[in-house]
Assembly symmetry: D2
Homo-oligomer: 335 residues x 4
C-alpha cells in the first residue's frame, strides 16, 4: 500500500520539484495542501496532471492519514505549520531554514528574528543523510539542509575529519547559484533583464547558510569565508573551495579520503584527479559531484562541488529523507 504524503508550498519552485519527483515514486501518493498564505498562480505543470488538492488543515491531515508533510514554505510559515502538522500525526520534512540550527540564539543571530518554536530545534534531525543517516528514521521533524551547505559540507567535512586542511589559513568557499534558488516570488533582483548577461555577489560573509556549515563541519566563523553569487541560469549550485592541504602529496590522496568516506553512498560522485564537475553534470539529478585539484609543491588545493539546487539542494534530498522516514530504499524515486 502506498503512503500518502502532502506538500505545502506547491506553487514555489521547490514545491513543484517535489510534485515532479514524487509523481515517479512508486511508494507514495501525493496531495497538495492549499495554504492561504500562498499566492500567485500554480505552475503550469500542475495544470497538466494535477494531484489531489486539500486544505492545509490538521484535521484533514489526520483524517487522510498523511504519513509525511513537506513544508516548502518560508521559515516563519514553517514555524507556524510544523506543530499542528506534527500534532495531526504526520512527520514533517521542512525545506526552510526554520529548524536547521541547534539554538534559538544562533537562529536570532543569522535570521534576525526570534524563533517561535525553540523546543522543536532540539527535536529536529538535520537531514543530511551522508552524515546523519542514523538520526533521521526515528525523527518526527527533519530539517532539510540548505542548498549551499549541502554542497559545502559534503566537500569539506571528510577532509576536516581526516585532518588534511590547514584550518589556520582558512577555507574559502566561493559559491554560485542559479536563480531558482531565490524562489518564485517576483522581485527586481530576479527579473530577467536584471539577471541575463549579469553576475552578482550578495550576502558576502554573512549569508544565512553559513551557520549550517559551521554546525556540521565544526569550523569557526573566522575560518570560513563564504560568498553567494547569482548565475544567469535556472538551476544549479557550484562551489569552488580553496584551502591549504597538509599531510597529502597529491590530488589522489585527497580523493582517497573521499572514496573511503563515501564508499557505498548512492548520491556522491567523485571525479578523477584534475577533473571537476560542471552544472550540466548534475542538472535534474540528486547527485553531489566532487572534483579535486592540488598543487603538491605549495599545498594549495581547490575542490569543486556541484549539485542541482532544486534536487540534492532541496526537493530531492527531502525525498531522500522521506525514504528514510518511511523505511523505503533511500534511492527510491531518485534515480
Amino acid at each position: 500500500m502506498k503512503a500518502k504524503v502532502g506538500i505545502v508550498g506547491y506553487r514555489g519552485y521547490s514545491g513543484v520539484e517535489l510534485v515532479r519527483i514524487l509523481a515517479r515514486h512508486p511508494g507514495v501518493e501525493t496531495c497538495l495542501l492549499e495554504h492561504r498564505e500562498e499566492t500567485g498562480p500554480a505552475s503550469p505543470i500542475l495544470h497538466a496532471e494535477p494531484p489531489e488538492c486539500l486544505p492545509c488543515d490538521p484535521q484533514v491531515v489526520h483524517a487522510e492519514g498523511l504519513a509525511v508533510v513537506f513544508l516548502a514554505t518560508p521559515p516563519e510559515v514553517s514555524m507556524k505549520l510544523a506543530p499542528p502538522m506534527l500534532d495531526a500525526g504526520a512527520r514533517v520534512v521542512d525545506l526552510s531554514g526554520a529548524f536547521r540550527l541547534r539554538t534559538p540564539a544562533n537562529y536570532l543571530a543569522w535570521y534576525k528574528e526570534t524563533h517561535t518554536q525553540p523546543e522543536l530545534l532540539t527535536q529536529a534531525a538535520y537531514g543530511l543523510p551522508e552524515f546523519y543517516r542514523d538520526q533521521i528514521p526515528g525523527a518526527r521533524l527533519v530539517a532539510n539542509p540548505g542548498c549551499y551547505p549541502t554542497a559545502a559540507n559534503l566537500a569539506i567535512r571528510p577532509l576536516l575529519e581526516a585532518g588534511v586542511i590547514d584550518r589556520g589559513a582558512g577555507i574559502v568557499c566561493d559559491a554560485k547559484s542559479g536563480v531558482s534558488g531565490a524562489g518564485r516570488k517576483p522581485t527586481l533582483k530576479t527579473s530577467f533583464c536584471e539577471v541575463t548577461e549579469n553576475f552578482s555577489a550578495y550576502s558576502i560573509l554573512r549569508h544565512r547558510h553559513v551557520p549550517e556549515v559551521l554546525q556540521v563541519s565544526g569550523l569557526e566563523e573566522g575560518e570560513f569565508s563564504f560568498t553567494a553569487q547569482l548565475l544567469p541560469l535556472d538551476r544549479g549550485i557550484l562551489e569552488t573551495i580553496y584551502f591549504r592541504a597538509r599531510g597529502v602529496g597529491s590530488a589522489e590522496d585527497l580523493l582517497a579520503i573521499y572514496e573511503k568516506r563515501y564508499a557505498g553512498e548512492p548520491f556522491v560522485r567523485l571525479y578523477e584527479a584534475g577533473h571537476v564537475p560542471d552544472l550540466h553534470a548534475v542538472a535534474h539529478t540528486n547527485f553531489c559531484d566532487i572534483g579535486v585539484t592540488l598543487d603538491a609543491r605549495t599545498g594549495r588545493a581547490v575542490v569543486v562541488s556541484a549539485i542541482d539546487n532544486l534536487v540534492k539542494g532541496a526537493a530531492g534530498q527531502a525525498i531522500q529523507n522521506m525514504n528514510l522516514l518511511l523505511g523505503y530504499p533511500e534511492t527510491e524515486g531518485l534515480r
Copy 2:
C-alpha cells in the same frame, strides 16, 4: 546654448535608455523629473553619473525652462501629466500608448479604458518621422510610436503604397520581442526562471499595438494577423511578415520599392535580396533593418524587420522626434 529637457519615468528601461543616449547628445542638458507614482530603485547607471533630479512639478518645469519633457510612463500617468507639462510651456514626447490613436473610441476599444484627454488626441503628432516628418516640428505633443508598430509599419507601408501586396489574402506579422519591452516592474511572467529556456505567445490577434498598424498602413483589422511573442533575451524586436506579392517578379523588385521610398532616410537599412537582419545587427542602434525573400513562382513573400525595442522602438525614436522639435539634425546623438 544647450536646451534643457526632462525625463519622467527614469526608473524604467525606456527612461534609462533616454538618459544614456542623451548623455552623449551635444545639444541638450538632461534632468530627471521625480514623480511620486514611480517606485522601485533607480538603475545603477544613474548612481554612477546622476543627472540633476527635480520634482515633476509644472512650476519647476516652467522655471527651469524645459524645452521638452519625455513621459516614459504608463498611459494613464501620461494622460494625467501631459496637460500640466504642456501648460508649463514644455513640448511633450510621450512614450506610452496614450496619444497614438486618433479617436477616443479606438482607444477605448483596444485599451479598455476611457480616454481622459480626448482633445489632445487630435493635436498629437504621431512620431514616426519616416512617414510624418513634416507634422512633428510644429507639434506641441508627440506620440512616440509603439515598438511593434514601428518595425511593422516601416516594413509594410511602402509596399502597400506601391500596391504590390495582395490585401485580400491578408498579411501575417509574427512578432518577437525581448523582455525589456515588458517594462521593469517585477512580474512572474518576466521572472528569470519563467523566461529562460522558454518562448511564449501572448495577446494573439488582439495586442494593443495592432490599431497603430491599421492607422498608419490603412489596413483593415481582418487583413492583418498579429501575434506578440516573448524571447528569452533583453532587447530587440524581430518581425517576420508574410504576404502574397503581385506585380513583382523578384525580391529585387520589392527592394527597389523600399530603396526609392527610403532614399536618404538615415535610420532604415536594407539588405541584399535573400538576406535578412538578426537582432545583433540592430542592438543598441536606432536602425530599422529590413530584408526580403520572395518565391517568384508562387508570389509568397517574407519580409524580416528588426529594431532595438528600447532605441528605435522607444528612447531613440523619442530623441529623433526631440531633434525635429528642437531643430537639431535628426541624427544628432543617435549615431
Copy 3:
C-alpha cells in the same frame, strides 16, 4: 527478456537523448555502436554510466541479435548504413532526412544531392504514429519525422481533413527552434556569443523540412509559407500557424476537431480556447501541445504547436516508433 538495441551517432544531441530515455525503458538493453565517421568527445552523461560500446559492424549487429538500430546520423551516413544494418537482421529507425520523402526526385530537389538508395524510399514507413500507426509495426525501416514537420503536421492535418482551412489564402507556419536542433558540431552560427541575445531567421521558404509537411498534409508548396528561426535556448520548437478558417464559428469548434481526431492519443495535449502552450510546458516530454485562437468575426485563426525538438521531435518519437516495432505499449519509457 529484454530486446537489445543499438545507437549509431551517440555523440550527437539526439543520440544522447536516445541513451537517456532508453536507460529508463524497462524492455530494452542499449548498446552504443561506434562509427568511424563520428568524431568529437562523447557527452559527459556517457562517462557517468556508460552503456556497452560495440563497433558499428554488420557482423557484430547480427551476432548480438540487435532488434533495432537507431541511426542518429546525417542523411549521407544513414544512406550508407541502413542497407547493411537491415541485411544484418536489425530493423532500422533513421532519425535523419534520408528516407522521409517518397521519391528520389523530391529528395534531390530539397537536399540537393542524389539519393543513393532509392529503392528503400518506398519501403520506409514515415514514423508519425498519430497518422501512420498501422504502417509502422510491419516496417523494416522507419523514417523518423523531422522536428519542424512533427509540430506542423500534428497541428495542420486534422483541420485540413475537416476542411476548415481556406487553402486559397495560404497557411503561414512561423517556426522557432532551440539550438540543439542544429546538432552538436561546433559552428560559428551556433557559438554561444553569436546566439545569446540574438534571434535569426534562416532557410526562409526553402527549408528541407517543407516537403515533409506537403507530403503528409497534401498541401501544395504555394499554399504553405514556412520560416525557420533560431531561439537563444537549448531545446524546444514552437510554431505559430496562421490561416483563414471557414465553416467554424469559434475556437471551440476547431478544438472539437482536434479532440475527435486525437481522442486516445497519448502524446497530443490540447489547451482550452484562447490558451496556448509555451516551451516550458513540453520540455523533456514527448508531448505535442496545441492551442487555438480564432477571431470569429474575420475568420483569422492562429494555432500554436509546441514540442521538445529532441524528444517528440527526434529521440522520443524514435522510441515511440521502436515500441511499435517491438510490440511494446507505445508509451513505454516515454512518460
Copy 4:
C-alpha cells in the same frame, strides 16, 4: 590631422571591439589589415560600415604611414608580426600574451612554447596605465595586459603596496568570465548548448594569466590561488578576491587606500563600503569597478573587481595605450 592606425585580427571579438570604439575616436582613421592566417567570416558590423581594408604587409604599413598597429592575434602570430610591423615604422599594441612576461623562461613555463622573439620581451612596456603610465608613451611595443590580470592587479596591488594583506595566509582569486573571452573560433566548449544553463571551472591554479599577476603584484605563486570559470553570458569578468587583512579596522580603511592610490584615475571606480559591482555596471565601458567587504572582527576581507573583458580587458585598454603612445588625452574615445 588624424593618425592612421591598423588592426590585424579584425574578425575576432577583440578586433571587432577595436573597430567599434575607434569609429568614435576623433583622432584616428582606422584600417583593417588582412592577414592570411585569419579565416572565417567577418563580423556583420563590418559589413554595415566597413573601414578601409589593406593587406597586412610591412611595405603597405610603411607607405600608409600607420602610426600604430594593433595585433589582435594569437601569441604565435603576434611573435611573427611584431618585428616587421615595428621595422615598418609603426608602433605596436599587442593584445596577445606574447610580450607580457619579462623572460623567455617564464613564457616557456606557462605557454609551453619557446619564445621566438626574446629580445622584444625586454623592450615591451606592460600596458596597464594605472601602474606603468610613464613607461608607455616612449615604448615601441606595448603588451596589452590579459583580461583576468587587469581586474586582479587593479584590486590587489594597492593593498599589497600598503601592506594590509597577510600574504602568509594566501590570496584567493576566484574569477569568472563571459564566453567572448574564449575567442570567436567555434569549439565544442563555447557552443551554445554546452554553455547555456551551465557553469564550469578550467585551468585551475595553472591559467596562463597567473604569471602576469605575480609579475605586477610581486606575489609568489604559492601565495596566489586562481581559478578561471566560464559564465553563460557574452561579456564581463568578475573576480571575487579573498584574503586576511591586517592593520585595518574597517572596509572604509581599505577603500581609503584605493582612493588615495587611484585619485584622478579616470577608469577605476570605487563603491561604498559593503557594496560591490556586478557585470551590468561595467558592460561596454572601460571601467574597472571595485567594492570591498570586511569582517573587522576576524580580518576576513572580500574584494570584488569587475571589468568588461572586451573593453578594459582588451580593446578599450589597448586604445587607452594608443592614446598614451600618440599623445592624446588618455580617455579619448573611451567615455
